[in-house]
């Protein structure tokens, strides 16, 4: 509280009357215009309160809402991209890949679309995850890695119930349904390991070869080279979707797991599917 306003002997100025432990504050008057500027900012703030949506349930007299402004910006961006999207809708993936302008647009758009719709299972950059989510950046394809094959997979999906053209195949449950005994399954697994040069028990692998020839070659091929028509993975390479240990292979023979992918046709704009096709093809495994 201002107590005693006195004149300071050195400066000739008044004090404000404030005193703290013997320290006294000089009163150097603030310019009046400075004070009025401060009042002006308060008035300005009140104007903003009225014009803009400043409190809940008040939309402001200007009608400007951040959310609607964003919607407008998105629409404007979509309108800007519309001619390019129309071209992408009409072209085949091969035509897009051959046209530098379309391709660069498709790669940029495909990256975003992939992060939105695909990365949940296939991981950022298509790195995949063991346990049924194939890596899209390697050179191993279960259903084919050409532009057409990739587009087919994206459009119709795999083993889903919503699309009649979905890629589909079923591997029998050799153990669970009693088609093979546990010992036989172990032998086949040993033989499968031998295809990539990792068998440890040659006798068991030999016994497994016979069973393999009877039960597995129809889909996985004579030498385990796989068959893309039925999505039977190649067994002779180093890429293992469900793990490469003997136990993991035995588990797959006993009661196989098979990946499911939704159909994106009808959910995504055909132009987006084309962009995704070109983008996935560019990740490193495109054929």
């Amino acid at each position: 509280m201002p107590t005693k306003i006195e004149k300071d002997t050195v400066s000739g100025q008044d004090t404000t009357g404030h005193e703290w432990d013997g320290l006294k504050e000089l009163n150097t008057p603030l310019p009046k215009w400075w004070l009025y500027t401060f009042y002006a900012t308060i008035v300005w703030a009140l104007v903003w309160v009225v014009v803009y949506p400043s409190v809940p349930f008040w939309r402001g007299t200007s009608g400007w809402i951040a959310r609607e402004a964003i919607v407008g910006e998105v629409e404007a961006a979509n309108a800007r991209n519309a001619p390019m999207m129309a071209r992408l809708r009409e072209a085949t993936p091969a035509q897009i890949a051959a046209d530098p302008e379309l391709r660069s647009f498709a790669l940029a758009g495909g990256r975003v679309a992939f992060a939105n719709t695909c990365a949940g299972c296939h991981g950022a950059g298509g790195q995949g995850a063991q346990g049924g989510y194939p890596t899209l950046a390697d050179d191993d394809w279960i259903w084919g890695g050409s532009l057409e094959a990739i587009q087919q997979t994206i459009r119709h999906g795999i083993r889903n119930t919503e699309d009649d053209e979905a890629r589909t195949s079923i591997m029998p449950r050799f153990g669970a349904d009693g088609m093979l005994t546990a010992a036989q399954i172990g032998d086949v697994a040993e033989y499968v390991l031998s295809m990539s040069g990792r068998a440890t028990d040659q006798a068991a692998a030999g016994r497994g070869a016979t069973i393999f020839a009877e039960q597995c070659v129809a889909c996985h091929g004579d030498r385990g080279e796989g068959n893309r028509d039925v999505g039977a993975p190649r067994l002779s390479d180093q890429v293992w979707l469900y793990g490469n240990t003997k136990a993991q292979i035995m588990a797959m023979i006993n009661n196989p797991r098979m990946g499911v992918m939704p159909a994106w046709q009808g959910r995504l704009d055909p132009a987006v599917i084309n962009m995704l096709t070109v983008y996935v093809h560019s990740l490193g495994g495109g054929e």
């Binding site: 306003i5 004149k7 002997t9 050195v10 000739g12 100025q13 008044d14 404000t16 009163n27 008057p29 603030l30 310019p31 009046k32 215009w33 400075w34 004070l35 391709r103 991981g123 950022a124 950059g125 298509g126 790195q127 995949g128 890596t135 950046a137 390697d138 050179d139 191993d140 990539s196 190649r234 390479d237 180093q238 890429v239 560019s282 990740l283 490193g284």
Partner: protein, 503 residues
């Protein structure tokens, strides 16, 4: 000012004021300042600096510089839209904004150095606030007359004469302000084009906004706010005390010579005749005889004013002068107790020494300026006009191929600041066995990948590097990507790593 003992004798010598009846208010109206016209050396220098600064500001955007077809022909242009800064033959990309940072740091140190040597030279002579205020005052004096005429006009009746002169003054001010705002915009868009656009009403809203903003603030700050910008708004006067010391040349009243003040013909008085010439010319409206003050911008107009009075009286000039506080104290000590007169003047002047320009503080500023200049010069000379940047894929870190090999993906960007666009060979320096595939690249006759470069642009490629199965591979292998010209010369290089599985 913490480091300097300011002479307060003038103030202390005054008779103690009568106790105020009412307490001082917390808010004060502005006391309008009516600076009087002045002639002299300092004023001439100030006019010259003003003319130079204004000429630079208004003329530079109009200088043309031929850069070839399709490129702006303006010598100094900040092209925001295309993200390029043109400065005569130099072309700066946004990622080279550190050149601007360096220039600003250099400017700051130069300001510190000048302040520690010569006081507030920047404030008094070259600061835009001072330059434009001076120009506006010139206009004011031209239309409304000198100090006394202006005071009379303001106190007199609001008649036709008053309004004619006031309206005319503000009209000229607004014209100057418009030219100032217009010139500012010209640094960012082509000057002749934008001038035509502004005049014909076809410029963009953005151009009009910045034009109006800079014009408006020029008018407000130079016409109305003036010395209050320096006293109340500008932070520089507040911390310049840290740059000044007793060896800096500052505008000073030699109180040892001037006191006690008195009539010219009176006996036993000092050289100051209390004519208030120094106060009347001061653009901030202070009395320099009160000693060092925050409000003093160091323009030295009071030096000219006092010198002309001393000249008329036949007394030596320099009662107010650019002087160091050290010399002031020395003169004061040498003349302590002496009666006014020629002997006191002689003794006081003899006690002075040349200002010490070379002292640790100025050496440090000079050193900092030298270091920053050298770093900037080095950065500029070594500035590459062709860069290759390598972004290694983070997801996936690496891919195991079906044959058991390991592959890494990279995104390579070729940043070409030149106007040439001939393709270059991309080359990988890595241990034996590493194989590189560049997506979408042509190959030269030797089968090496040829990558394009876009004139004044960036081209991006996806590159896959793989290692065959069986090759022993550490977790991380250094690799280097190089851009080779047809002659084999290395145009650019960038190192990266190749990541394999954890051992």
């Amino acid at each position: 000012m913490s480091t300097v003992e300011a002479p307060h004798r003038a103030k202390a010598d005054r008779p103690p004021e009568a106790p105020a009846a009412a307490a001082q208010p917390l808010y004060a109206s502005r006391q309008k300042v009516y600076p009087k016209r002045v002639f002299g050396v300092v004023r001439s220098v100030k006019w010259a600096v003003l003319a130079l600064c204004l000429a630079l500001y208004y003329v530079v955007p109009w200088i043309r510089w031929n850069r070839g077809p399709g490129l702006p022909d303006q010598a100094v242009l900040v092209d925001i839209e295309n993200a390029r800064l043109f400065f005569f033959w130099i072309e700066i990309w946004p990622q080279e904004i550190y050149f601007l940072t360096g220039a600003l740091i250099l400017g700051a140190f130069a300001l510190f150095a000048v302040s520690s040597l010569f006081g507030r030279l920047w404030c008094g002579f070259t600061c835009p606030q001072t330059v434009w205020t001076d120009l506006f005052m010139f206009v004011e004096r031209w239309i409304q007359g000198d100090r006394n005429a202006r005071m009379k006009l303001d106190q007199g009746p609001r008649n036709a004469n008053y309004w004619t002169r006031k309206v005319l003054t503000h009209a000229v001010w607004l014209l100057i302000a418009a030219a100032t705002g217009g010139a500012w915009v010209m640094y960012f868009v082509d000057a002749p084009t934008v001038t035509m656009e502004i005049l014909t009403g076809h410029a963009s809203l953005q151009v009009y906004f910045f034009f109006a903003m800079f014009a408006g603030f020029t008018y407000l700050l130079a016409g109305w706010a003036r010395e209050q910008v320096c006293t109340y708004m500008c932070p520089w006067p507040r911390f310049q005390a840290a740059m000044l010391d007793e060896n800096s040349l500052v505008v000073t009243y030699r109180d040892w010579r001037g006191e006690p003040r008195g009539k010219a013909k009176a006996e036993g008085v000092g050289d100051c005749v209390d004519c208030f010439a120094c106060v009347h010319v001061c653009p901030t409206g202070i009395d320099i005889r009160d000693g060092q003050q925050l409000e003093c911008i160091g323009c030295g107009l009071c030096v000219d004013a006092c010198d002309s009075v001393m000249g008329k009286l036949g007394r030596p000039k320099g009662l107010i002068a650019f002087e160091t506080l050290k010399n002031l104290a020395a003169s004061e000590a040498a003349t302590a107790g002496m009666p006014p007169g020629a002997a006191r003047y002689k003794a006081g002047m003899a006690a002075r020494h040349l200002p010490r320009f070379i002292r640790p503080r100025t050496m440090m500023y000079a050193g900092a300026i030298a270091v920053v200049s050298l770093v900037m010069l080095g950065a500029f000379l070594l500035r590459s006009t062709l860069d290759v940047t390598v972004l290694r894929d983070r997801a996936p870190l690496f891919v195991r191929l079906s044959d058991g090999g390991i592959r890494n993906g990279y995104t390579i960007k070729i940043v070409n600041k030149r106007r040439e666009d001939s393709p270059l060979v991309l080359d990988l320096q890595a241990p034996q066995g590493f194989r590189m595939v560049v997506q979408d690249a042509d190959t030269d006759p030797d089968g090496r990948p040829l990558v394009a470069r876009r004139a004044d642009g960036i081209v991006q490629y996806r590159v896959l590097v793989s290692v065959p199965p069986g090759q022993r591979l550490p977790e991380s292998t250094p690799v280097t990507f190089r851009l080779l010209e047809p002659s084999g010369r290395v145009a650019a290089r960038q190192s990266s790593t190749f990541v394999g599985p954890r051992q």
